[in-house]
Amino acid sequence: MSAPILAVEGLTMRFGGLLAVDQLSLSAARGEITAIIGPNGAGKTTVFNCLTGFYRPTGGSITVTHENGETFRLERLPQHHIVRDARIARTFQNIRLFGGMTVLENLMVAQHNRLMREGARLPLALVGFGPYMRREAAAVDRARFWLERTGLIERADDAAASLPYGAQRRLEIARAMCTEPQLLCLDEPAAGLNPRESDALNELILFIRDTGADGRGCSVLLIEHDMSVVMTISDHIVVLDYGRKIADGAPAAIREDPKVIAAYLGVDEEEALAVDAALQKQ
C-alpha cells in the first residue's frame, strides 16, 4: 500500500472569530474517489480552498505524495506551484469559465504552464515558427481528447458563456483535466444537473478515476450534496459538520452512521442525547 495521494493533518482555518475548519485530518487514497459531504456551512469548500492555495491554513499540514514518491507540502507552496508541481486541479461550486473565450481557448489556457515549459518563451514561438508550434498542435489535440470525452466537440469554437449550464459544468471539468492533474478536486459538480446529465457525470468521473488522460487514472476528491452521485461512485466518504470530521468510511457504513443521520436530518434534544450516549458506550 503506497502513501495516500493526499494526507491532511490537523488542518485548521480560522477567519477572525470563526473557526471554519477545526483540526481536520483526512486522507485520499491514490486511484480512488473520496467524497467530502456535510451540511451547508460545514467547511467543505474551505478545505478545498486550503488545498488549492486560495487560503493559507491557520494550522496543520497538507501533504501530497506522487506515484514516484515525490512529496509536496501544499501549505507552504505558492498557489501556482500547487497546480504546476503538486498537480492539483479544481472546479468551482459556482462555475468559473472564461466566458468570452471559446471552449477550445479555455482548454488552451489550462495548458499554459506546460506550453511555457515546452518552449513558448523562445523568440521563434512568438513569431509563429519552430518546434514550439508542434507542441501547440499537441495541446490542441489534448483539448480535443477532453472535448470528445465530455461531448463538447461540436461547441469547441463557441463562447464558453453561450453553452447551456450542464455543458459549462462539463467544460470546467475538462479544463481542470487539461492541467494534467494527479488529484482532481470537484466542488459540487452535479449541482443543477438533471438526472440524465447527472448519470453522464458519474460516468465521466469514473472514467477520470480509472483512465484519466494518460491511462493511469487520476485520484478524485469530490464535494457533493447529491447523494445519488456520492453513494454510487465514491470509494470512500468523509463527513464534516461544523468544521470537524464526524465520520469517515465506505459509503455503506456512512449511510448507517447515526451521527451522520443526525447531522443531516437534525434530531430533537432527547434523541441527540441518546445518540451521544450510544456513541459513548461504543
Partner: protein, 437 residues
C-alpha cells in the same frame, strides 16, 4: 431583397448611382453662366462624378448595414432555437476583412499620393503615434483588463529616456530606441509591483497617481531634465547614418541619392518610422494573443480566480502585461522626442492618458482594428473640426457620447478567437468580460 448577398448589394448601389447619373447629368453636370453672347453652357464633370460616387458609396453602406442587421437578427433567432450558430460571413464582415488591408495600403501609400502635402503627412504621423499608443495601452486595458490611467508616464519615460541618452551618452536614435523600450518596460514593472493586489477603481487611481508622479518629477528635477523649460536639441533620426540636411552635401540623404534637398524628405521619413513602429506593435500584439502569454492575459481579464486555479501566476501575467504595454509606450515616446526635437513635461499631462484611453474604449477594448479607426477618428477629427474654434470640444464630446450610445462596447466589440478547430467565429460582445482590475 430578402436574401441580399454582397453582389446584390453592389448591383443595387450601382443602380442607384445610375439613377443619380441620369438625374444629375442635366441638373449638376451642366451650368449656364452669363457669357459674352447670352448664356454659355459649362460642363462640370468633376461635381457630377463626385455626386455619383457619393450616391454609390452611400447606397452600398446602407445596403450592407441593413443586410448586417438582418443576418444578425437571423443568427439571434437561430441561437434562440439552441442550435449551434453556424453562420457564414455577413456582408459587413466580408467588408470588415477588407478594411484592414485597405487601411494598411492607404497608410503605406499616403505620403506619395497626389495632393498630399507636408500638413497631411504631419497629421498622419500624429495619428499613427496615437494608433501606436492606443495599441500599446490596448494590451494592458483591452487584453489584460487592467485599467491604467497613467499610460502617458511610459510615453514620457521613452521621450526623456531618449533625450537623456542622446545628451549624456551621445547615442543615436536607432541605438537608443531599444534602450528606451527596455527602460519603459522596467518602469512598467516598477508600477506593476505595488498595484498587483489592486483592482478596478483602486488600480485606476494608483496608475493615475503614478502618471502624475513621473510628470512632477520631470518638472522639478531641473538639473537633469531642465524642468519646465524642457530639453531641446534632441538629435533627429538618420537614414542608415545619412542625416537629413538642407545643405545637400556628400554625406547627407539628399546628396547620397542625388536628390534636391527638401524638408519633406525628413517628414516622410518620420512618417515611415512611426508606421513601422506601429506595425511592429500590431504584429507583436496579434502574435501574443495566439501565444500562451496573451491567452493568460485574456484569461485574467475574464476571471482571475479561475486563472489562479489553473496555475497561472497572476504576478507574472500582470507584470508581463504592464511591461509589454509600457515598452510600446516607450518606443512611441522616443519617436515623439526625435520628431519634435524638443520635449517638456507639458506634453505628458493626464489629458494625454485620458485621450489614449478614450481611443481604446471607443475602438472597442481588445480590437486592433477598432483602436486604429478610433485613433484616426479622434485625432483626425480633432483637426478637421479646427474651424469650429471654441465649439470644437462640444462637437467632439457629442460625437463621443453618440458613439457610446450607439455602440456601448466600442466600434468593434466582438472578439476574434485566438485558436479554433473549425471556422473561426467571433465572440459576441455580450459574452466578453471587461475586466475588473
Amino acid at each position: 431583397m430578402a436574401q441580399a448577398g454582397f453582389p446584390a448589394i453592389v448591383k443595387d448601389a450601382g443602380l442607384a448611382a445610375l439613377v443619380a447619373l441620369g438625374v444629375g447629368a442635366p441638373l449638376l453636370g451642366l451650368q449656364t453662366v452669363p457669357g459674352e453672347r447670352g448664356l454659355d453652357l459649362v460642363t462640370r464633370p468633376g461635381l457630377l462624378l463626385a455626386t455619383v460616387c457619393a450616391v454609390f458609396v452611400g447606397r452600398l453602406l446602407l445596403g450592407l448595414f441593413l443586410a448586417n442587421r438582418r443576418s444578425a437578427a437571423r443568427s439571434a433567432a437561430r441561437r434562440a432555437a439552441d442550435a449551434p450558430p453556424r453562420i457564414g460571413l455577413t456582408p459587413m464582415q466580408r467588408v470588415g476583412k477588407m478594411v484592414a488591408p485597405a487601411f494598411l495600403a492607404l497608410a503605406v501609400l499616403m505620403p506619395v499620393l497626389p495632393g498630399i502635402g507636408r500638413y497631411e503627412i504631419d497629421l498622419g504621423t500624429l495619428v499613427l503615434t496615437y494608433v501606436m499608443l492606443g495599441w500599446g495601452l490596448n494590451i494592458v486595458v483591452g487584453l489584460a483588463g487592467l485599467l491604467d490611467l497613467g499610460y502617458v508616464a511610459f510615453y514620457a519615460v521613452g521621450a526623456y529616456g531618449y533625450a537623456l541618452l542622446a545628451k549624456f551618452f551621445d547615442l543615436s536614435f536607432w541605438a537608443a530606441l531599444p534602450l528606451t523600450g527596455l527602460l519603459a518596460a522596467a518602469w512598467g514593472i516598477i508600477l506593476g509591483f505595488p498595484v498587483l493586489r489592486l483592482r478596478g477603481d483602486y488600480l485606476a487611481i494608483v496608475t493615475l497617481a503614478f502618471g502624475e508622479i513621473i510628470r512632477v518629477v520631470l518638472l522639478n528635477w531641473t538639473s537633469l531634465t531642465g524642468g519646465p523649460n524642457g530639453m531641446s536639441g534632441i538629435p533627429r533620426p538618420t537614414f542608415f547614418g545619412l542625416p537629413f540636411s538642407m545643405s545637400g552635401g556628400e554625406g547627407t540623404f539628399a546628396g547620397f541619392f542625388g536628390l534636391e534637398p527638401s524638408p519633406i524628405h525628413r517628414v516622410m521619413f518620420l512618417y515611415y518610422i512611426i508606421l513601422a513602429l506601429a506595425l511592429i506593435t500590431n504584429f507583436v500584439t496579434i502574435r501574443l494573443r495566439r501565444h500562451p502569454v496573451g491567452r493568460a492575459w485574456e484569461a485574467l481579464r475574464e476571471d482571475e480566480i479561475a486563472s489562479r486555479a489553473l496555475g497561472l501566476s497572476v504576478v507574472a501575467v500582470k507584470l508581463t502585461a504592464f511591461a509589454t504595454g509600457a515598452m510600446f509606450g516607450g518606443f512611441a515616446g522616443a519617436f515623439f522626442a526625435t520628431r519634435q526635437g524638443f520635449i517638456s513635461p507639458e506634453s505628458f499631462t493626464f489629458i494625454e492618458s485620458a485621450l489614449i484611453l478614450a481611443i481604446v474604449v471607443l475602438g472597442g477594448m481588445g480590437s486592433q482594428l477598432g483602436v486604429a479607426i478610433a485613433a484616426t477618428l479622434m485625432i483626425g477629427g480633432f483637426e478637421v473640426f479646427r474651424g469650429l474654434d471654441e465649439y470644437r470640444m462640444l462637437v467632439f464630446g457629442l460625437a463621443m457620447v453618440a458613439i457610446m450610445v450607439w455602440r456601448p462596447r466600442g466600434l468593434i466589440s466582438s472578439r476574434e478567437p485566438s485558436v479554433s478547430l473549425g471556422a473561426r467565429r467571433n465572440v459576441g460582445a455580450e459574452h466578453v468580460a471587461e475586466g475588473k482590475g
